[in-house]
Symmetry: C2
Subunit: 217 residues, 2 copies
DNA sequence: GGCATAGTTTTCGTATACGATTTCGTACCT
DNA sequence: AGGTACGAAATCGTATACGAAAACTATGCC
């Protein structure tokens, strides 16, 4: 079974660097030197440069002319912008996908949410964060508009890259969050109208942002 | 006064090609050949390629591996996706910027809107479309969240590139549109709450989409 | 010691070159 | 005539190379 590499080198470089940013190997502020990355991957600098510029377009890295790229996301203001944008996009995505969510989806989401509750007992913030993403994925992944879905994914990626620096796990907020998840599931189960679901999903994220802001001031 | 070129060649190429797409010189389906564009601009292919990929990320061109780039946007489904996404984003942007809109802004928007009414009399769809963008710019341009504002701009750019092919000017809808504009201005003047403004702005775009869908079926 | 400055190093930006892939045209076979 | 195979042309993908800009360092002056 020979390792079949997928896509162009530019593609591979994009995936490789993005993975390192999202999973935290490259933390915000990390300096991305084209030649170094190219050597690591065994490519030339051209496809690597293309990958970096693409990551810049998604907001994961900051690029400065004739200086270079750094993993972005230290600024709390950016966190606020991202959360606010995501609250809007994700709220819409959840509302649009709600009618397409079946009983199996609900059951899966509920199982994930209960596991999140366990994480609160054993204090496992890392797993909690992962499960949180899994939970919300169930809610928005059936969104029939691919543009909106793409924007949701981008928002989550940015947050993933921020989590180790800006984000701090707030147990109190986490507990509320789990309860809000259950409430969201019941709303969807009950066939609530799109507007109600959208507002609830948006509010859910806004509350997380508020908790963050409250803690930093 | 020597023409001071701004930014890198990649930057210039991006701006040049984008302008040609948005103003309709390159219509949807137009084949973008790297070498040809490079020669036209007097650059090598490398910065041009970077520009094209960037435009791809914004949805203005479609890129196929080992084949090339074409100006995108023929598909009516794409139009639907874009309009739906924009209705959400623009609605939010308008609601967020509403509290920051002053009397001067309102007056300017109202003047633009009255000129749009004139365009209906003289049947000038091109100018109408331009004024329509000007009008909405006043409403969302003060949005304090740059991410959201950026998404609004991207949506408008995509629509601009689509207008000559997919979009057809519908006089009946245009007239309604002007009236809705006035209603929006009054809402903002009256200091309506964010939710009301958001819903109205969103509905305004949704109605345009509906008119398009009604005409094609 | 601190600051300005010149030289060095690092890193980016882009031109050029060439191999890889797709597409298109043409000749051949059935 | 229609389809297939082969070859030529067009176009992309990426490596290499070199010039340009910025960052860093060391040196001399105050």
């Amino acid at each position: 079974m020979t390792e079949t590499v997928t896509g162009s080198k530019s593609e591979q470089a994009y995936a490789a660097v993005k993975a390192r940013i999202v999973d935290g190997a490259y933390t915000p502020g990390y300096r991305l030197v084209l030649a170094k990355i190219a050597e690591d991957l065994g490519f030339s600098v051209v496809p690597v440069r293309e990958a970096i510029r693409r990551l810049e377009a998604e907001g994961l890295v900051t690029f400065e002319r004739n200086v270079g790229a750094t993993v972005s996301g230290i600024d709390p203001t950016e966190y606020l912008y991202t959360m606010q944008t995501l609250s809007i996009i994700e709220g819409a995505a959840t509302a649009l996908s709600a009618p397409l969510i079946g009983a199996a989806d609900i059951a899966r989401a509920r199982a994930v949410n209960e596991e999140m509750r366990d994480c609160l007992e054993h204090f496992d913030p890392v797993r909690f964060t992962q499960l949180n993403q899994d939970f919300h994925s169930v809610l928005f992944e059936r969104c029939p508009n691919p543009h909106i879905l793409d924007l949701v994914h981008r928002g989550w990626n940015r947050l993933a890259s921020l989590r180790s620096s800006t984000f701090r796990f707030v147990p109190g907020r986490a507990r509320d969050s789990v309860d809000e998840h259950e409430a969201l599931l019941r709303l969807i189960e009950s066939g609530a109208d799109a507007d109600t679901i959208e507002k609830a999903a948006r509010q859910h994220r806004a509350a997380t942002l508020d908790a963050y802001l409250a803690q930093t001031t």
